[in-house]
C-alpha cells in the first residue's frame, strides 16, 4: 500500500519531487520572512527599551499610517 503510493505507477519520483520542492520553497520563504520580522521586532524592543519617559510619550503619538504617507522611508527587501 505504502510502496504503491510512493511508486505511483512509475510517476512517484516526478509527483513527489514536485510536491517536495513546493513545500521546501514554502518553508524556506516562511522561515526567511519570519526571521526578518523577528529581527525587526527585536530591534524595535531594544530601541523602545532605551527611551526615557518623555520619548516614550512622543513615540506613542507617532502614527504609522501618516508616517508612510508623509515621509519617504524606504527599506530594502
Amino acid at each position: 500500500m505504502i510502496s504503491e503510493f510512493f511508486y505511483m505507477n512509475g510517476y512517484g519520483y516526478y509527483v513527489l519531487s514536485s510536491f517536495l520542492f513546493t513545500l521546501v520553497c514554502f518553508l524556506g520563504l516562511y522561515i526567511i520572512t519570519k526571521s526578518q520580522l523577528t529581527k525587526e521586532q527585536n530591534k524595535f524592543n531594544v530601541k523602545f527599551g532605551e527611551l526615557n519617559s518623555e520619548q516614550v510619550k512622543e513615540a506613542k503619538k507617532q502614527k504609522i499610517y501618516k508616517e508612510i504617507i508623509a515621509t519617504e522611508i524606504f527599506s530594502k527587501i
Binding site: 505511483m8 510517476y11 514536485s18 510536491f19 523602545f48 504609522i64 508612510i68 527599506s75 530594502k76 527587501i77
Partner: protein, 233 residues
C-alpha cells in the same frame, strides 16, 4: 510589541495567526485530496497530480504580478506610498510561486513530453515573468536612491504586465506543447469535478500562503518604519 496599539498593527498581527492555521488545515486537506483521493488521468496516469501544485502556483504568480502592476500605476497616479509598500510586500511570494510553477512544470514535462525544458511560448513567457519578479526584487537591493527605486520598480511592474496576457493567451496564439486551459471562467470547464475540487482546495491553500507571507512582510515594513521613527526621537 510593547506599546503598539495601532489598529493597523493589531489587525495585521492577529490575522497572521488565523491565516497560518487556516493555511495548514486547508493544505493538509488539499494534499490528501491531491495525492490520495483524486483519480489518475486516463492519458497521463498519476503524473497528472503535479497539476495540483503547478497550476495554482502559476495562477497565483500571475495574479500577484497583475496586482503589483495595478498598485504601481496607483503609485504613479496618487503618489501614495502605501500602494508601493503593499506591492513590495507582495513580490517575494509572487517570485516563489513563479519559480514553483516553472520547476514543477519542468518536472511534469519530462514524463509527459519527454523533455525537462522546451522553448515553448507558454514556458518561455513564464520564465520572463520569473525574471521580472527577480528584477523587481534585485532593484530593491541595488538602488540606493529612494526616488529612483520607486520609479524603477514601478516601471518593472508595469512593463512586466505586458507579459501577462501573452502568458494567458500563448496557448491560443501559437502552436505550443502546453495544453490549452482546462479551467475557464467564461466558457465551459473541461476538467472533471473529481480533479477540480482538489485543484480548488490547493489553490485556496496557496492563496492563503501568499496572504500569510504578504501580512508578515507588510508587518515587517511597518516595524521598520516605526524603528526609523524611534531613531528620530
Amino acid at each position: 510589541m510593547k506599546f503598539i496599539k495601532n489598529y493597523q498593527f493589531s489587525l495585521v498581527q492577529k490575522s497572521q495567526k488565523i491565516v497560518l492555521y487556516l493555511f495548514l488545515i486547508i493544505l493538509t486537506l488539499g494534499l490528501f485530496e491531491a495525492l490520495i483521493l483524486s483519480p489518475q488521468d486516463y492519458l497521463q496516469g498519476d503524473s497528472v497530480r503535479i497539476m495540483y501544485v503547478h497550476v495554482p502556483s502559476a495562477w497565483i504568480s500571475l495574479g500577484i504580478f497583475s496586482l503589483m502592476a495595478s498598485l504601481s500605476v496607483m503609485v504613479i497616479i496618487f503618489k501614495n506610498k502605501v500602494f508601493f509598500l503593499v506591492a513590495k510586500s507582495l513580490a517575494p511570494s509572487g517570485f516563489i510561486f513563479s519559480l514553483v510553477a516553472l520547476v514543477t512544470g519542468s518536472i511534469w514535462g519530462k514524463p509527459t513530453w519527454g523533455t525537462w525544458w522546451a522553448w515553448d511560448a507558454r514556458i518561455t513567457s513564464m520564465l520572463i515573468l520569473c525574471i521580472f519578479y527577480l528584477m523587481y526584487l534585485i532593484a530593491w537591493r541595488i538602488f540606493e536612491n529612494k526616488d529612483y527605486v520607486t520609479k524603477i520598480t514601478s516601471f518593472i511592474a508595469i512593463l512586466g504586465f505586458i507579459n501577462i496576457p501573452i502568458i494567458k493567451f500563448s496557448v491560443d496564439w501559437w502552436s505550443t506543447l502546453h495544453q490549452p486551459s482546462s479551467v475557464n471562467i467564461f466558457s465551459e470547464t473541461t476538467i472533471h469535478s473529481s480533479m477540480l475540487i482538489p485543484l480548488g482546495i490547493m489553490t485556496a491553500a496557496f492563496a492563503l500562503f501568499s496572504l500569510l507571507i504578504f501580512l508578515m512582510k507588510y508587518n515587517t515594513e511597518l516595524i521598520k518604519i516605526k524603528n526609523k521613527g524611534l531613531d528620530r526621537l
